[in-house]
C-alpha cells in the first residue's frame, strides 16, 4: 500500500494488517462477508464457542446507551461441532485468517475446545475469560488472576496454537491478571471485553435487559480500553503483544490503542453502525503512517509511552486539545 507496511507479526502469526473484527460482533463472517471481503481483514475472531450448542439469554438482549450499547447475548453459539463442520470451512474458503474465541464453562471444557481446534485450520485461539453475561465461566475466571492463569495453562497444554487471553476490565488491577496469564504461558492478551453495566426503563421501572446487567461497548469505553492497554503494556515492559479492543470506530481511536501499546486492534460494535468500519480503520491507519512518514506500523506500537506522553500521564495531567 504505497510504501506503507501494514503487516503485523503477532505471536508467530503474520497478519496482513492490524485490524481484526472482534468476537461476538461479526458472527462467523457469513453476514458481513457479502459487504466486507474477509480476506482483507487482519483476522476474523469468531463468536465465543462452547462444546455444546448454547441458546443464550432470553430477550431483550441489547439496549442503547450514551455513545454505546449493552449486550447480554449469553454466548449463543452452535457449538464446536457445528463450527468445525459448517462455519470454519466457509471462513477458510473466503480466505479469512481465523482466530477462534473459546468460552468454556469449566477448565476441562476449555481444554477440550483447545484440543478440538488445535489442527483445525484456525490460526490462533482467543481465550474468553471475560464474558459478563453468563453465570458460570466467563468473567468469573477472568476476574481472578489465579483462575485466569489456570485456564491459560490448560489451553496452552491442549494446543500448539498461539493463545491470546481476552481480559475483562471489571477488575481492580488488570495488570495483575495480565501478569498471571503471561506467567502461565499466554502468547498475548486481548484488552478489553465489555464493561458491566445496566440500563433502567423509567416507564416500566425495571432494567431493560432481561438479565438485568449486560456488557457495555462502543465509543463510550474507548478511554477505559486505552488505559488498560497502557497499563498492561507498562506493567509487562512491552514483553507481551497486546490486541487493543474497545471503542474503536475510526482510525484515530485505533491509533490510540496502538500508541498505548497494542500491536493490533479489534473493531467491535462499530461494525453494527457501519459494516465497513474495519476496512476504513485499516485505510485510515495507512494514511496516518504515510502522512507521518512512518515506514512500519510496528514503529508506532507503544510510542506514546516513550514520547513525553508517558511523563504527562505519570504526572496525572492531560491534554484537552482536540484539534487534529
Amino acid at each position: 500500500m504505497n510504501g506503507v507496511d501494514l503487516t503485523v507479526q503477532l505471536a508467530g502469526l503474520e497478519l496482513k494488517n492490524p485490524v481484526m473484527v472482534a468476537s461476538g460482533t461479526f458472527g462467523f463472517g457469513r453476514e458481513y462477508a457479502r459487504a466486507c471481503p474477509l480476506r482483507e481483514l487482519g483476522a476474523v475472531v469468531t463468536k465465543g464457542l462452547t462444546e455444546q450448542p448454547k441458546a443464550g439469554n432470553p430477550g431483550p438482549r441489547i439496549a442503547e446507551t450514551p455513545a454505546g450499547m449493552l449486550n447480554a447475548i449469553g454466548l449463543q453459539n452452535p457449538g464446536i461441532d457445528a463450527f468445525l463442520a459448517d462455519e470454519l470451512p466457509f471462513l477458510r474458503a473466503e480466505g479469512a485468517t481465523v482466530i477462534a474465541n473459546i468460552a468454556g464453562h469449566t477448565l476441562d471444557e476449555f481444554g477440550r475446545l483447545a484440543e478440538r481446534l488445535n489442527r483445525s485450520g484456525v490460526a490462533a485461539l482467543e481465550v474468553n475469560v471475560s464474558c459478563p453475561n453468563v453465570d458460570r465461566g466467563g468473567m468469573a475466571f477472568g476476574a481472578d488472576p489465579a483462575a485466569a492463569a489456570a485456564v491459560t495453562r490448560v489451553v496452552r497444554q491442549a494446543s500448539e496454537l498461539p493463545v491470546f487471553v481476552k481480559l475483562t476490565p471489571n477488575v481492580t488491577d488488570i495488570a495483575a491478571v495480565a501478569r498471571a496469564c503471561l506467567a502461565a504461558g499466554a502468547h498475548g492478551l486481548t484488552l478489553i471485553n465489555t464493561l458491566l453495566g445496566m440500563v433502567i426503563d423509567t416507564t416500566a421501572q425495571r432494567p431493560v435487559l432481561t438479565r438485568g446487567v449486560g456488557g457495555l461497548s462502543g465509543p463510550a469505553i474507548l478511554p477505559v480500553a486505552v488505559r488498560c492497554v497502557w497499563e498492561v503494556h507498562r506493567a509487562t515492559g512491552g514483553a507481551v503483544q497486546l490486541i487493543g479492543c474497545g471503542g474503536i470506530s475510526d482510525a484515530d481511536s485505533a491509533l490510540q490503542h496502538l500508541l498505548a501499546g497494542a500491536t493490533a486492534v479489534q473493531v467491535g460494535s462499530a461494525t453494527f453502525v457501519d459494516p465497513l468500519t474495519a476496512l476504513r480503520v485499516r485505510d485510515g491507519i495507512a494514511d496516518y503512517l504515510r502522512r507521518r512518514g512512518v515506514a512500519r506500523l510496528a514503529d508506532l506500537v507503544g510510542r506514546a509511552q516513550t514520547a513525553g506522553g508517558a511523563n504527562a500521564a505519570q504526572q496525572g495531567s492531560a491534554s484537552h486539545d482536540d484539534d487534529r
Binding site: 466486507c36 450448542p53 431483550p60 453494527f272 465497513l276
Partner: protein, 273 residues
C-alpha cells in the same frame, strides 16, 4: 440469502423528498434511494442512522417502494430519541441507510390474503396490501388502533380494491374493541393466508385465534384446517444483519432465530412467542 445482496449491507445515502405529519404521533417520510427501492419487498426494513445522539441504527419498516421513481415510503411512529430525530428531518436532508434488510413476507399461494395490523404495524402490511392487489389476490384488511387518529395511511389504498375492517379501542372509528375481535371465525380462514404485524400481545392473540401456539398445534386434522399464518416481529436490533444475535426469538426446537435476518417475518409454527 439472496445473492448480490452485499450491496444492501453497505451504507447508502437517501435524500428526503417529503416529511409529513400523519397525526397520532406518526409521520410519513418519502426518500429517494434508488438502490434500495429497486429491490425492496413488503416486510423488509431499512436500518437508519438517527443523528449523533443515538448510537445504534433504527430499523424502520418499508411502507412502499417505487422502483421506477427510486423512492421509498416509511410510516413511522415516534417512540423515542431515534424516531424523534427522524420526525424533525426536512426535505433535502440526507439519511444514512442500510437496506433493504430482512426476509419480507412470502408471496403466499392462497387466493385470499387477510392482513391483520395493530397500530404502526400497518406500515409493512400497507406495502403488502398493494402487492396483493397487484397480484390479483382478494385482500381483506383488519386494522386496529387505540383511537381514530392512530389509524394512519388509510387514504393510500383504494377501498374498491381492498376490503377494510377498522377497529379502535375507544370506538372512535369502526368497530369498538381490538382488531382480533373483528376477525372472522377460524373455520372461515381455511385456505387463506393471514399476515399479521403489531404488538406482541396482538400477534399472540391472532396465533391463538387461528389454532397456533400455546401448545394448540393440535391434531393433524386441525393443522390442515388452519390458515397459513405469517407474523412480522418487532425487536430491538443492533446490527440488523444477523451477526450480533441481539434480537433472538425462541423456536419450538433448537437455537433461537434472529428477528433481523431469519425474519422479521416468520411462519407462526417456526417460533414461540
Amino acid at each position: 440469502m439472496q445473492s448480490g445482496s452485499g450491496l444492501a449491507l453497505a451504507p447508502q445515502t437517501a435524500m428526503i423528498i417529503s416529511n409529513k405529519d400523519e397525526g397520532g404521533g406518526c409521520f410519513r417520510l418519502v426518500l429517494v434511494a434508488p438502490r434500495a427501492a429497486g429491490t425492496a419487498r413488503p416486510g423488509q426494513f431499512l436500518h437508519i442512522r438517527c443523528g449523533e445522539d443515538t448510537y445504534l441504527r433504527r430499523p424502520i419498516s418499508i411502507a412502499d417502494a417505487d422502483p421506477t421513481e427510486g423512492t421509498l415510503t416509511l410510516l413511522i411512529r415516534r417512540v423515542g430519541r431515534g424516531t424523534d430525530w427522524l420526525a424533525c428531518r426536512r426535505p433535502g436532508e440526507r439519511l444514512d441507510v442500510i437496506g433493504p434488510l430482512g426476509n419480507g413476507f412470502p408471496v403466499a399461494d392462497a387466493d385470499e390474503w387477510w392482513l391483520v395490523a395493530g397500530g404502526i404495524g400497518w406500515a409493512p402490511l400497507r406495502f403488502l396490501a398493494r402487492r396483493g392487489v397487484a397480484l390479483g389476490k382478494t385482500v381483506r384488511v383488519f386494522y386496529g388502533a387505540r383511537t381514530v387518529s392512530e389509524l394512519i395511511g388509510l387514504e393510500d389504498l383504494d377501498p374498491y380494491l381492498c376490503e377494510f375492517n377498522l377497529t379502535t379501542d375507544d370506538g372512535s372509528l369502526g368497530q369498538a374493541g381490538n382488531v382480533v375481535g373483528a376477525l372472522p371465525e377460524a373455520k372461515d380462514a381455511a385456505g387463506t393466508a393471514v399476515f399479521a404485524c403489531g404488538p406482541r400481545e396482538m400477534l399472540k392473540a391472532v396465533a391463538r385465534r387461528f389454532g397456533y401456539g400455546s401448545g394448540a398445534n393440535g391434531s393433524a386434522g386441525a393443522a390442515a384446517q388452519r390458515p397459513a399464518l405469517y407474523l412480522s416481529l418487532e425487536e430491538r436490533l443492533a446490527c440488523g444483519v444477523g451477526a450480533c444475535l441481539g434480537c433472538a426469538v425462541e423456536t419450538p426446537t433448537g437455537l433461537p432465530k434472529r428477528v433481523c435476518a431469519d425474519g422479521p417475518v416468520f411462519a407462526a409454527e417456526e417460533i414461540r412467542l
